[in-house]
């Protein structure tokens, strides 16, 4: 199993497996980067309605092609059909949201289920048709890779390249609309058209990915990679790039994993792979991860208790808070009877001196952005330059200033 997985990773598991792995990676890149802006606009669920609305189009296109004397399985014909019905689905959501008192979530739920239901009915009807080659149509639901052809890979490659190009080209207006649509409109951006472009990207991803991942699960590839990348970065560009990367890796690894054992479904494995990356990120991402948050809370708490306790003792008070006592004790600043150790005395003097400097600095810089950085915890030398501190010390040496600032701490 492991060696089969390695073979698949290195594209040594046969022609079809290699085709699937490369296709899935490209699709993942396109889906991750193309889905990011809809995610940032907080309209990700719209992509689910869109994906489910493709099914009737697939069915109708098949029936039409059979009626016209074809075998009904022409890929471009089926994709064209799904594009048309996804567009109708989107317009329906849009119409319900704008013209009725129903909110977007209700519109999405209604359109999604009705279109999907209609599509399933059509597929059932198709199964009973005597003409046409209907095997494999249900692959559009959950994706199938068994019959992946070179042509399918070409569709994914060209579609993926187009999607990434449009993302790069429209990154600025899309960022603007996602962050602040009112400002975007006031700077001359046509918000409706940009929204349409975001939707168009998601539609393109869905259609291109129909065959590989299927319409039920494609939404995962549009949402999970951006959500994962968001955990790692505070910059829009990096979220877009990261989502593409995470999507690509999920696609490639998922495809390789599913190729390494018989009968592992590719689409669902790709989705699970992207979820694994998400779960890891959620736990371990710096700043926004669960562990980082715990750690930083803990560090903050210690800092707070240390400073508060040392200040209280420096002013000759006593410490009632058990947590404060525990922190100071652990750091060797107080003894068991809550009196300061030598190290504690030095630390208390330092903290008190820092407070005095802050009081002076805030007096001198009242209206600068700087005084907003006073949070009662941060040491002043982490905020001001050495020259500025020297100036503050000089003023503090002046007895007239010293008296005024002394009571502020």
């Amino acid at each position: 199993m492991v060696s089969a997985f390695l073979d698949a990773l290195l594209l040594q598991a046969g022609y079809n497996a290699a085709l699937v792995a490369v296709g899935a990676a490209l699709l993942g890149i396109a889906a991750g980067s193309g889905g990011t802006f809809l995610f940032l606009r907080k309209r990700s669920l719209l992509s689910d309605a869109l994906a489910h609305s493709t099914l009737p189009g697939v069915g109708i296109a098949f029936i039409l092609m059979v009626a016209l004397g074809g075998e009904g399985r022409n890929l471009l014909g089926l994709l064209l059909g799904s594009t048309v019905s996804a567009t109708i689905g989107l317009l329906a959501v849009d119409w319900i949201t704008n013209r009725t008192r129903l909110a977007e979530d209700a519109a999405i739920g209604a359109v999604l289920s009705v279109f999907f239901g209609f599509g399933v009915v059509l597929l059932t009807v198709i199964q009973t048709m005597s003409s046409g080659y209907q095997a494999g149509l249900e692959g559009f639901l959950l994706g199938s890779t068994a019959g992946m052809l070179f042509g399918d890979a070409i569709v994914i490659t060209i579609g993926g390249a187009l999607i990434v190009t449009v993302v790069l080209l429209l990154r600025r207006p899309m960022t603007l609309v996602a962050f602040d649509p009112e400002f975007a409109a006031a700077s001359g951006v046509n918000v409706q058209r940009v929204d349409l472009a975001m939707m168009g990207l998601v539609m393109a991803v869905t259609i291109v990915g129909l065959k590989l991942v299927g319409l039920v699960l494609i939404v995962a590839l549009l949402i999970i990679p951006p959500a994962t990348a968001r955990l790692w970065s505070n910059r829009t560009e990096n979220v877009v790039l990261g989502a593409g990367l995470i999507g690509g890796v999920s696609g490639y690894m998922g495809a390789a994993l599913s190729a390494s054992a018989p009968n592992l479904p590719t689409g669902p494995i790709i989705v699970l792979m992207s979820f694994a990356l998400f779960a890891l990120s959620l736990l371990f991402a710096p700043a926004r991860g669960v562990f980082a948050a715990l750690l930083s809370r803990r560090r903050f708490r210690n800092r707070l208790h240390r400073r508060q306790g040392l200040l209280a003792l420096a002013h000759g008070g006593s410490i009632q808070d058990r947590m404060t006592r525990a922190v100071l004790r652990r750091e060797g600043f107080i003894r068991g009877d809550a009196t300061l150790t030598e190290a504690g005395k030095a630390a208390a003097a330092r903290v008190q001196h820092d407070e005095r400097r802050w009081a002076m600095a805030r007096q001198l810089h009242q209206l600068d952005g700087f005084s907003a950085r006073y949070d009662s915890l941060r040491p002043i030398d982490s905020v001001l330059t050495r020259d500025q501190i020297a100036e503050i010390d000089r003023r503090m040496g002046d007895p007239a200033f010293f008296d005024r600032s002394g009571d502020g701490s």
Binding site: L40, K42, L169, L170, R172, P173, T175, L176, A178, F179, D180, E182, F183, A185, A186, S187, G188, R230, S233, N234, R235, T236, N238, V239, Q366, L367, D368, G369, F370, S371, A372, R373
Partner: protein, 271 residues
């Protein structure tokens, strides 16, 4: 059109120069906006003279923000006309800067302070040109004007309300516009920020810019602005603060809901 111009001339008396609508940075004619079947703004006229600082004042729900948004084409107008420097909006977008309400965006969005200010340059950059160091320098200079240069590389979620407002103002500065439209720039900010913002706005006026602010604090109108537009769905009065911001007009605007004691505190100009 002529009727509006004539009225403005008469209102301002000898203190202000005659403003033809064609030269006005912002002239609004019979503007009506409606949410559902209730007009939020009804048939409002306004003509803003160049180099002026106008406060749009009125009670909550009077349509102040809506008027501003409709003037910018952010919300659709049901009827009426807006001219900016005598031209239709679409032709002069690049002469307008807009500061929306702080609460209108998600401050957890993945972006840094400097990136927000750079958004003010997107119009100039277009789709293809890359950001280069002159653009960054310009953004930093704008941040510096509002006292936020130290925060350039922070995530925007770490800012206080007042700091967020200053960043929005810096973004508007980056747009290098002639007409500045601001929606409640002083709402919920600290005293230091209020001072920083009004200093920048006054400096802009001194640089021959024109400013229009939705403003909610009656006590600072005379101190900050030279013109006032009083509205409550309809326009109540428009003109220089000295002749327009009177007790009679305020009572008309607020429908007698202002306590006499409150009005006395405003130190209104003697009628």
């Amino acid at each position: 059109m002529n009727r509006v111009a004539f009225k403005v001339e008469r209102d301002q008396g000898a203190t202000a120069a005659f403003v033809a609508p064609g030269e006005s940075p912002l002239s609004i004619n019979e503007l009506t906006v409606s949410y559902g079947e209730k007009p939020a703004v009804f048939a409002v006229d306004a003509t803003v003279p160049p180099q002026s600082m106008t406060a749009i004042v009125g009670p909550n729900g009077a349509g102040k923000s809506t008027l501003l948004k409709a003037a910018l084409g952010i919300v659709p107008r049901l009827s009426g006309q807006v001219r900016v420097y005598g031209k239709p909006l679409a032709q002069v977008m690049n002469r307008i800067a807009y500061v929306p309400q702080r609460a209108s965006v998600d401050w957890d969005f993945p972006t840094r302070v400097i990136d927000v200010v750079l958004m003010g340059l997107y119009r100039e950059l277009g789709l293809l040109r890359f950001l280069r160091s002159p653009h960054k320098e310009k953004a930093l200079a704008c941040l510096n004007r509002v006292g936020m240069a130290d925060f350039a590389y922070r995530q925007i979620g770490q800012l206080s309300g007042g700091q967020q407002q200053r960043v929005f103002l810096a973004r508007a500065l980056a747009q290098s516009a002639d007409l500045y439209l601001l929606d409640e720039p002083f709402a919920g900010v600290d005293a230091a920020t209020e001072k920083a913002i009004i200093d920048v706005l006054k400096a802009l006026k001194a640089e021959h810019k024109t400013l229009v602010c939705v403003h909610h604090d009656l006590s600072t109108v005379t101190q900050y602005f030279d013109r006032v537009l009083l509205i409550n769905t309809r326009k109540i009065a428009e003109g220089p603060v000295a002749t327009t911001f009177t007790e009679e007009n305020l009572q008309k605007t607020y429908g007698g809901r202002l306590a006499t004691a409150h009005i006395e505190q405003l130190k209104l100009p003697a009628a």
